[in-house]
């Protein structure tokens, strides 16, 4: 059976590449520290020597729109183009092509259906920055096949926080049951408190620094009970209109299981809190 070797959950910041590669004299003061933190985080993946990446993100109205809007979708394709014109324009993210793994996509799709997660699927999926940002940060050589999974964190009504957690658990089970000797890493990105296109956007901190610190502690301790007791769609929106990106962190905790994180780091950037978590399955932690 396949082996889950690491679960990574982080924020995705589309400006990371631009911020850390522009001429040093134009960089923001935090750029070197940001780069150091990201490179240290990258090492938490590299040392597990994965063969396949199961990547969880959320399309930002690039391929998916309101005419046809799935809650959960899995990519099943031999390859995936990535980065849309408006992401190149706004964030300076280059185009990529990611290798797929159709056999694992097919297995996971069926397995998730058998666990009562009725996934939509796509045989021609173009990936956006929710999956390319973590490629840039934790696997910039882009040398591994991926199984992309998209969640809806954007177009209400959204599935419940508990459903996201249970989906994480189901993804974990599908990886564990995959008949292959591959080493699989699961990588998901989302947000802590975040405001976009509203009155609290681009402040000195994220819109709700209290939530950010609390969320980091919950994740550090793998405290799913506290998360499910406290986090609702209403509470997330109060913390910032795009804070439902936190649902992907809840999902990733489901993949890892309710355990302490093995690696936790964060960085207070000008309008958002960046956070980086890695869990290693307990039987391999040594």
């Amino acid at each position: 059976m396949a082996q889950l070797v690491a679960t990574l959950a982080s924020t995705h910041h589309p400006f990371y590449l631009k911020a850390t590669t522009m001429p040093p004299e134009q960089q923001m003061p935090q750029a070197p520290e940001w780069k150091r933190k990201v490179e240290a985080y990258r090492e938490t993946l590299a040392k597990t020597k994965p063969d396949i990446l199961v990547m969880i993100g959320s399309d930002h109205f690039h391929q998916i729109f309101l005419d046809n809007c799935p809650q959960f979708l899995i990519g099943k394709a031999p390859r995936y183009d990535a980065t849309f014109y408006n992401e190149e324009r706004e964030f300076g993210i280059p185009k990529y092509v990611l290798e797929g793994d159709e056999a694992m996509s097919r297995f996971m799709h069926q397995h998730l259906m058998d666990q009562d997660f009725d996934f939509a699927f796509s045989n021609e999926l173009k990936i956006d920055h929710s999956i390319i940002c973590p490629i840039i940060t934790v696997r910039p050589q882009n040398d591994l096949p991926v199984v992309p999974i998209y969640t809806n964190i954007f177009a209400p009504p959204l599935p419940s926080p508990r459903r996201f957690y249970n989906l994480g658990r189901a993804i974990r089970k599908a990886i564990d049951d995959y008949p292959s000797d591959s080493r699989v890493a699961a990588i998901g990105t989302g947000h802590l408190s975040l405001e976009l296109g509203g009155p609290r956007q681009f402040m000195e901190t994220g819109p709700d620094p209290v939530f950010d610190r609390q969320a980091i502690e919950w994740l550090r301790n793998g405290d799913i009970e506290a998360i499910l007791d406290n986090v609702t769609h209403e509470s997330m929106i109060k913390s910032g209109n795009a804070t439902q990106g936190f649902l992907n962190f809840i999902l990733m905790l489901g993949v890892a299981g309710p355990e302490n994180a093995d690696y936790v780091d964060n960085l207070d950037l000008f309008h958002t809190m960046e956070a980086y978590f890695t869990w290693y399955p307990k039987e391999q932690a040594a």
Partner: protein, 121 residues
């Protein structure tokens, strides 16, 4: 009111460099063209007969009025990325990084402690 159709405008224009250019250069005539031939498009062969913009929605789009669009419940991500695409660069040159984004936020301060208009469609 058609939040969906306003969002469709933002979605189709933001993702297409040619449409974006025309929307910057002559918003009034571009919005008219969009309503006539771009908005109704389902694919290259099929046209929808279902949606239309209200006068208020049309006016907000013609005026690049992101405050009005926010108040109508246009999706926050589309509303932001559309007008960043138009104003980020000129503002940056004039007043430095994030100056457009901060002005955008400043113009919405009257919503700060209220429930925002729903983006549900």
């Amino acid at each position: 009111m058609s939040k969906y159709y306003v969002n469709k405008f933002l979605f189709t224009v933001d993702r297409d460099p040619e449409y974006l250019k025309r929307y910057i250069e002559d918003p009034k005539s571009f919005v008219a063209t969009w309503e006539q031939s771009i908005g109704p498009k389902l694919n290259d062969a099929e046209r929808s007969t279902v949606n239309s913009l209200t006068d208020a929605e049309r006016e907000a789009l013609v005026n690049h009025d992101y405050v009005a669009l926010f108040e109508m419940g246009a999706h926050f991500f589309l509303n932001l990325t559309m007008y960043i695409g138009i104003y980020d660069e000129p503002y940056m040159t004039r007043s430095g990084p994030l100056s457009f984004q901060r002005e955008f936020a400043a113009k919405l301060q009257h919503w700060r402690d209220k429930d925002y208009p729903s983006v549900e469609t």
